[in-house]
């Protein structure tokens, strides 16, 4: 495991400029995806329900035609 980590550390340390640019892009992208997008725009709607019964009741209401 230490050897493997050393590989990564050495590799990143000796990376050429284009590689550093790519890593900066990755970092910015992951920040936007996981921090900005996920937190601000992607709430899981079903998580506001307490248990599976409430979640299934919510879903059934939207996938079945109501009784006439």
């Amino acid at each position: 495991m230490n050897k493997f980590l050393k590989l990564y550390i050495d590799g990143i340390r000796n990376m050429p400029q284009w590689g550093r640019t790519v890593w900066i892009i990755i970092f910015i992208k992951l920040l936007i995806f996981f921090v900005v997008m996920k937190l601000l725009f992607f709430p899981n709607i079903l998580n506001k329900y307490q248990n599976d019964k409430e979640k299934s009741d919510y879903v059934i209401e939207h996938i079945c035609q109501p009784k006439k």
Partner: protein, 552 residues
């Protein structure tokens, strides 16, 4: 209820998902295919010890690295969207979708992270053998991680190996192997993976062609072209074969999608294949089956029948048979399917009501229905159709047309994909022939054609997904759930906003990807070492002048 649903919410949700998926798919095929081409080139280095092969390996690794890094995590956005915009779908599919996606993530993380580190950073640090092994395992690991998402998608097209639980309103996997090895999953995985190999081969051939046009890296380019052309030719032949298998599977499991992509309106024995055509007023032709939906078409008699089940005179149902039914061919009408789907939905509602009211006799009876294979094959199988039910039968008759996917889009994208596939095969054959005769550079127009085929390979690749996902509309799970049922009932504006944000972010990523890759290609196969100029200081100038005086 479904009539009053904000259709712009459904459409924006679909646009958002389609946009994310299509951007994701711009990066993935090159990663999947190029990893194998790099493995082949490094194998040549390992076997010959020729350092020129090593330089070539490192060059293509740079391109692979950029594409892989920028593409990483673009697929994760899709998983966010399942929870937000498609929460009814996420719930309904239960662990059938979640399990393959989880395996994909874990497999991709472990295999690719470990072996990619050795691939990029392990030169001269590990043995040649272990480095080569890591490169091969990166390639295989990428392909295996793609398997799981494709299995999940195949299940959407042909849901198998599950049982519906009316208590939780979820589908539960009861046969993992049926899901993994369904004919739809096998054909989808093999066809998609092989088409990625074709794309990557076209990319390598195209870039190498550019170098030859510029009279740069001539030997290296020819070497790359040879490997990529052989790999690409094998891949395109197998892509065509698996495409044929896939189409036959679609004819069986999604006959409406099949009829749409072939613009096959009226079923008949000895059905012709439309090799080429231009559609007109398909909406009008749906409502008046005597109307010709084609402005013009070139038909090959009997070929569609043959491709469907190897008999030139077999019956291939058309859109009309699937909509209105065909008693002679045991095809039930969409109108009947709607009635049956409605019964299944009402049984579920009755079951929930009986549980709530403590009527266990009724609830037990209804529960056994959902466990009865005959009942589920007759009613639950058409669960999604129930959303088109209406007390007003004139409205229900009009709703029948909603199960037809966009015909023109399906037809054109299918034919674009097929024609481009044939062109790729011709290109690989021509290039291999000219390479063997060592006269490729004389035919500059072939080199230009190879270069301009790079964007065509992306068009073919995306077209395949358009047919797959647009052709299955209105279904998100074939026959069981429509996209309208699946969508989360939220405000439309956040969906619009994230859609535009994604378009912006993904375009920026794509531009960065293209710029960096083009820059690396322009730099060439072996980046020149920087010339280190000695620093000029006052003391060095004084020393120099003293030396010059002595010499005088």
């Amino acid at each position: 209820m479904f009539d009053s649903l904000n259709l712009s919410l459904v459409d924006w949700s679909r646009v958002q998902f389609a946009l994310t998926a299509m951007y994701h798919w711009l990066f993935v095929p090159l990663t999947l295919g190029l990893s194998f081409i790099i493995a082949f080139i490094e194998t040549k280095y390992y076997r010959t010890g020729d350092e020129e092969w090593k330089k070539l390996t490192k060059f293509w690794m740079r391109i692979f690295g950029v594409n892989f890094a920028i593409g990483v995590a673009t697929g994760l956005i899709l998983e966010f969207e399942f929870g937000t915009n498609w929460s009814n779908y996420s719930w309904f599919v239960g662990d059938i979708f979640g399990a393959p996606l989880a395996i994909e993530g874990i497999m991709a993380f472990f295999m690719e992270t470990i072996f990619i580190a050795v691939m990029f950073f392990g030169w001269e640090k590990v043995s040649k053998r272990f480095h080569l092994l890591s490169t091969w395992l990166t390639a295989i690991g990428s392909s295996l991680s793609a398997l799981w998402i494709l299995v999940a998608n195949a299940w959407m097209q042909n849901p198998v190996g599950m049982r519906f639980n009316p208590d939780t309103v979820r589908n539960e996997m009861i046969d993992f192997w049926a899901v993994l090895f369904s004919p739809t999953a096998i054909s989808k995985f093999t066809h998609t993976l092989l088409s990625s190999f074709v794309l990557a081969s076209i990319f390598v051939v195209g870039v190498s062609a550019w170098y030859l046009l510029k009279n740069r890296h001539i030997i290296e380019s020819k070497r790359s072209m040879k490997i990529a052309s052989v790999f690409g030719l094998i891949a395109i032949v197998l892509t065509i074969y698996t495409g044929d298998t896939s189409a036959r599977d679609v004819a069986s499991t999604q006959p409406m999608k099949f009829a749409a992509m072939e613009a096959h309106f009226v079923g008949r024995n000895g059905a012709p294949l439309k090799a080429f055509g231009i559609t007109r007023d398909v909406e009008g032709a749906l409502r008046n089956m005597d109307k010709d939906p084609m402005l013009m078409s070139i038909e090959l008699p009997g070929v569609l029948s043959f491709l469907t089940d190897y008999h030139f005179d077999s019956f291939v149902p058309g859109i009309k048979d699937l909509l209105y039914g065909n008693e002679n061919k045991n095809i039930i009408s969409v109108f009947d399917k709607i009635e049956r789907g409605y019964i299944a939905q009402q049984s579920l509602l009755d079951y929930k009501k009986a549980i709530k009211e403590g009527d266990f006799t009724q609830s037990d009876f209804l529960r056994t229905q959902f466990e009865d294979r005959n009942w589920t094959n007759k009613y639950f199988k058409y669960f999604g159709y129930g959303s088109y039910f209406s007390e007003d039968k004139a409205v229900q008759s009009e709703n029948v047309f909603k199960v037809v996917p966009p015909i023109s889009i399906s037809f054109y994208t299918f034919h674009i994909m097929v024609f481009l596939g044939l062109w790729f095969m011709v290109l690989f054959i021509v290039i291999l022939f000219l390479l063997k005769k060592d006269i490729l550079q004389k035919y500059r127009w072939i080199l230009w054609a190879a270069l301009f085929t790079i964007p065509l390979s992306y068009i073919a690749s995306e077209s395949g997904w358009v047919i797959s996902e647009v052709g299955r509309q209105p279904w998100i799970i074939q026959d069981l759930m429509t996209t309208s049922q699946a969508v989360t009932h939220i405000e439309t504006y956040p969906v619009m906003l994230t859609c535009m944000l994604f378009a912006l972010i993904f375009t920026a990523l794509l531009v960065a990807d293209i710029k960096i890759i083009i820059n690396q290609i322009k730099i060439g196969i072996e980046p020149k070492a920087k010339k280190i100029e000695p620093k000029t200081t006052k003391s060095s100038i004084e020393s120099k002048s003293k030396i010059n005086k002595k010499e005088d």
